[in-house]
Point group: C2
Chain length 365, copies 2
């Protein structure tokens, strides 16, 4: 055990993404990748599985073994200590959406532990945390990769980094960054046909599992604002936080104080007229309305909210719950570089994490 | 000199892409990347510039210095010897489209020299060369990256590799892979409006610099066939060569024997009726015709040629000379992962090369 070419992996989180990630990690081993990953720690918020001698936890049986474990999870600094003392390089895979875990990245990175995660919190929280993370990584040489923090497995973060790193100048980034919002508006205001009532579409999206348990967590726009914060910072803007620029909430003011998501959904039909008017205004101009985020890099402006697009515009023509991200740059000129496809879902989110794991491993091994 | 964190770079080719690459290489140094690249060899087909002590050639003055050089280029095995004896790791950047240079990759890789290139020849020639290249790289640990061999700087190769490496199953790849063909068909059979005569559009494309000096080198479909060969092999198909599957040539049989491109262009109007009929047939079905390549991975079938698409299809809606590549996979389901944008041009092609350089350097330094 402990051969130098082995990479020790700790996984925090075993929800939808975590489960898919474990399956993909097992697949890597089954396909006999030259890099040897050794899963040595896995935890949920209540349980953990690990061995003091770093002996391997089989990825394909990890969930069952974890369920049977009687160990409580280690505190985050203890996980860092544990990984820092591993026989060779280690990667922390954070498959949670926890701010606490995100806050521990500078500590882990500073001690040479690389981080791979779909968790948006670290990169879209305070600008101080962002700087602490990348300063710690630069000092130690540890890597931090977070492709799935925007657009799940779509090559969004990597493409933006490549553009910036090779010296292109980003002028504008624009797109649909939420699978939920994409589904809602593609149904509510389709390019062809009439579309349903707003409140009906929200209910349908919830019943199909396309929204958070409380749909207001999608409709407040904060998820999109977090993704825009990440991209804007990578494009060079010192965005203070996801609430430091205009974000349009689709929660009617009167419903902000509802106690539950169900109460909100019950009262939402009373406000259908507001959304119907927005749709009609766009239609009378030959357009359709969409919920988009945009970053004007030159002007340093970020915004999130409703905008109207010609029916032939790629943003209007989006299907299902797909995301679309357009990068306008000096080199690409008037026609942007576009990435499009599913931007949510366990398998494609985990794919971004697994891809990052392979890229980090290739650099640290 | 010769510090261990330096990476020695030899550049072959100083044409359109080569010039842009040198400018981007200079930009890397100017932005004080932590990786230190040292240009120690540069050549065209007639001249070379290098120093026996590997002292640095300034990237921003390299072209002028090369023009003033009286050295002939080294033979390829000598370049390999020279780089293999460099004080630390070396990367060969092949900015040519030469088969001879491509044929030398196994030798370079076998001796631990990584290769970065937009040159399609190595990856779309014989299957034996493909195997020799990747076997040599696997044996020595040297890297070979070729993002710009398909779609220039668009993230096509990297996306396909990520999908495959993380265990997704590619079912189909489809797209417009030639900027020339994209421009020709977007003008000849636009989604809105009538479009021009075929021969007029070909002449216009040539006068705008969108075609090879002899437009038949685009119209024969071989460029697209080469790109499809590369993607099909990466998706797991053992494609023997770019002529081992059906490729539709748009050169009328009667004009294959023209002695010059000018003679071809002069006679092309006599055949406009053939293309006009193809356009009309598509229109009568409510569609537009496009020149596409597709790979059916399950059936092991690759083909290149004309196909008709609904006007609302992303391939129909393409603009200018953009490329579009759709990856259909098990994880992404019915809506493909799509990458779209300029797929030709010096700056964006060089960007793919520079991006690869950074990725290889991060792994070998």
């Amino acid at each position: 055990m402990g051969a130098a070419n082995q990479i020790y992996i700790a996984v925090i989180g075993a929800g939808g993404v975590g489960k898919c990630f474990l399956s993909q990690l097992h697949g890597l081993a089954a396909r006999k990748q030259s890099l040897k990953f050794r899963l040595c720690y896995i935890s949920t918020s209540r349980k953990a599985l690990y061995n003091d001698d770093y002996s391997e936890i089989a990825a394909d049986g990890a969930l069952e073994a974890l369920a049977a474990s009687s160990n409580a999870p280690l505190a985050l600094p203890k996980i860092v200590d544990y990984l820092a003392a591993a026989p060779s390089r280690a990667i922390l895979v954070d498959n949670t959406s926890s701010q606490d875990v995100a806050d521990s990245y500078p500590l882990a990175l500073g001690r040479g532990i690389s981080v791979v995660t779909p968790n948006k919190k670290a990169f879209s929280g305070s600008y101080k945390l962002w700087k602490d993370i990348f300063t710690a990584a630069a000092m130690s040489g540890a890597k931090v990769y977070h492709e799935s923090s925007v657009g799940a497995g779509l090559p969004v973060i990597s493409t933006l980094k490549d553009l910036v790193d090779t010296g292109d100048r980003i002028t504008k980034i624009e797109g649909v960054f939420s699978g939920t919002m994409s589904f809602l508006f593609n149904s509510f205001a389709p390019v062809e046909g009439k579309g349903g009532k707003w409140s009906d579409e929200v209910k349908k999206a919830k019943s199909l599992g396309y929204t958070e348990p409380d749909p207001r967590d999608d409709l407040n726009g904060l998820d999109v604002a977090r993704k825009l914060t990440i991209l804007a910072r990578l494009a060079g803007l010192a965005i203070e936080s996801p609430t430091s620029f205009p974000v349009q909430s689709l929660i009617p003011k009167e419903l902000e104080t509802c106690n539950t998501g169900d109460e909100f959904l019950a009262k939402l039909p009373e406000f259908d007229q507001q959304m119907e008017k927005i749709k009609a205004d766009a239609e009378s101009a030959g357009k359709v309305v969409r919920f988009v985020g945009s970053i004007d890099v030159g002007a340093g402006k970020v915004k999130v909210g409703l905008e109207s697009f010609d029916r032939s515009h790629p943003i209007a023509a989006l299907k299902g719950s797909d995301n679309i991200i357009s990068f306008y740059t000096e080199r690409y000129g008037s026609n942007p570089l576009i990435v499009q496809g599913a931007g949510a879902g366990g398998e494609v989110t985990a794919m971004g994490v697994t891809g990052d794991l392979l890229k980090v491993a290739a650099q640290i091994s």
